[in-house]
Symmetry: C2
Subunit: 383 residues, 2 copies
């Protein structure tokens, strides 16, 4: 399972005392080789946490030996001291592993604006390294949880090689990733450039299309590490396909665990003049608070779908649009279908299909409903 | 008070049976002259309700005799039949007043996607005209309410002339106006071109900067009518100033009555490289669900302010930004001020000041917190 499903990786999670609750809060994923190729994508938020700034630098040579991840503190908006904390963390782990700090990526998640207890992290590094095992993936996945209610893991195996992955994130999932940490490992033989291309292709149609609340985190990171331990060179097309499957599975798990949600909503825009138009229209609906409240109320209120997409500049004729809920056409050519009815209360998943009748492109955006519990969790998750 | 504070206008509101509750739901504002100049601004949503499409046409000649407004149904996304309903409404009132339908503006508000009971409206037109009086403004303001808890009215008087106004809107207030109907009257002598210029200048810095939930309505309309009944020609600068004061007052009233809100929040961005940058940054914060939940939780979580503005492309150095809550500097140069504390729970109004240190421009955006009651109202306001 998880990041140790692929050969050539050791992992672990433990409680270092960062979280006052005493829950696990520190994780290690170590590449045992023989290859050490790596790629990453990061948040597009211009306010970047210290670990993001650090990891963006160390990934530049396409190589990583290990990733250290903490929950219980985002180390974002912490200034030069916060960056020094990340640096110390990487140096301490590098020293323990006998490698350079430039081979260590760092990820953090939690509340913004507070220093992390770096002494607790560096003190725990020897135990972290000593306890990491080739079946420790689930422990690592557990240790990176914040408001997550379940650990997220995914595995795909192809001809002689495997991709394994873990993720954390719940709510606050947004375009270009958000409060989301993902570590993906593979034992396929893939060079850094191909890892990078595959990762960008996979995230573009998966994590980038999850839009839970329109927010975007300071800390989002997706890392992909290859050990080459299978000795099998992966076909690039097949590798990208398998990686996309893993990312799609994790993205669905993130949506399913979004803070306080009662519905997962797949908004599919078809008949768009371009893929970008489809994405823009899908996002405008996914971010509309009134639409999201209607979904919570189990009301297939197609009028709010039209009102939301009307705010975009995408190509369409307002009098040519069809809107369906769970396959039932509720609105056609811009107004309601007489006597159309659909019960969307029964299942957690709701499908909203919008046909713009303006072209041949399509895209699906995933989001959630807006609920009392979303407000409660985010009003009480204090800084 | 209201639209009859200015001389030369008659108004009324009554219950025409559109709302099942039996509450007032139909209003008339009639210009008694001698001038009939008018101007208007409408929603920028591309999905426009039938009355918006109609009113956009009839305002083109810069002249109106009357406005008829109904609550209890938006007449949006109702197709050609819905447009015919608006047309019939205007024709019936025009016939009763002995003018052309081209002199009648129509406004509707309520649920999207259903036909309005046009027979009830046209049947009520004779009573509407008969009962309209020069002190009937408050009755009209009452009849256009939907989820509003109070009627919104505002009056400004200058040297010999008056501006009076009414508005409806609660929540769903967004850029470029939203689910907001406003009728403003004046007895100043102002021609249609000057009315138009003043109205655009005033709405640009008032209604356009209220952003309650990022949604934008299909029906938003702001109408300005001049009777010239004071006989006093208004100085253009003074007229724009007074009109801006009225619009600002109404915008504040709309925010104060936003659905389920417990805080009104004034987000002022200063030190921006341009006014547009200031508006973009202010909106990014105003629309951030996590920030809005933190405000509901009375948590001056400046990290969410930075995370929100980091998603924009405005000019700034992330390490140069200051954030204050109610005048207390909480974060400076991108990280927290040690031991800074502020209690934002005491007052309904919260001031968030962000200094980008990137220029000399500023703007204020008004919004609300995101609460249980917002979700409840919008989940239960069924289509």
């Amino acid at each position: 399972m998880s990041v140790t499903a692929a050969k050539g990786f050791a992992a672990v999670g433990l409680a270092a005392g960062i979280k006052p609750s005493g829950d696990p809060d520190l994780a290690l994923v170590r590449n045992l080789g023989p290859d050490f190729a790596a790629a990453a994508v990061f948040t597009s938020n211009r306010i970047k946490a210290a670990p993001v700034v650090w990891s963006q630098q160390v990934i530049k040579d396409g190589s990583l030996q290990a990733v250290i991840l903490n929950s219980g503190g985002a180390n974002a908006c912490t200034g030069p001291d916060g960056f020094a904390d990340t640096h110390s963390t990487a140096e301490r782990l590098a020293s323990e592993l006998g490698v350079g700090a430039i081979d260590i990526a760092v990820c953090s998640t939690g509340v913004i604006g507070h220093r992390i207890p770096v002494d607790k992290i560096t003190s725990a590094v020897p135990a972290l390294v000593a306890r990491a095992t080739e079946d420790g993936g689930p422990l690592a996945a557990r240790a990176i949880m914040t408001t997550d209610t379940v650990a997220k893991q995914s595995v795909q195996t192809r001809n002689g090689w495997t991709i394994g992955a873990m993720a954390k994130g719940a709510g606050m999932l947004a375009p270009g990733l958000a409060t989301m940490l993902v570590v993906i490992t593979t034992d396929a033989v893939v060079n850094a450039a191909d890892l990078d291309a595959a990762l960008r292709a996979a995230t573009h149609v998966t994590f980038d299309r999850v839009d839970s609340d329109g927010a975007m985190s300071t800390n989002d990171t997706v890392l992909l590490l290859s050990s080459g331990a299978s000795g099998v060179e992966a076909d690039p097309g097949e590798f990208t396909e398998a990686l996309t499957t893993v990312c799609s599975d994790l993205a669905r798990q993130l949506v399913a665990d979004a803070e306080g949600a009662t519905h997962d909503i797949a908004i599919t825009i078809s008949g768009a003049a371009s893929e970008e138009d489809a994405v823009v229209v899908g996002r405008s609906i996914a971010r509309n608070s009134l639409f999201k409240c209607a979904m919570f109320g189990n009301d297939p209120y197609w009028g709010r779908v039209l009102a939301a997409l009307g705010t975009t500049q995408a190509t369409f004729d307002p009098d040519a649009i069809d809107v369906s809920f769970n396959g039932v056409l509720m609105s056609s050519k811009g107004f309601g279908v007489p006597d159309a009815e659909v019960d969307i209360s029964a299942n957690r998943e709701i499908r909203v299909d919008v046909d713009l009748h303006a072209g041949d492109h399509a895209a699906t955006i995933w989001t959630n409903d807006l609920t009392y519990d979303y407000v409660k969790e985010n009003a009480e998750y204090l800084s």
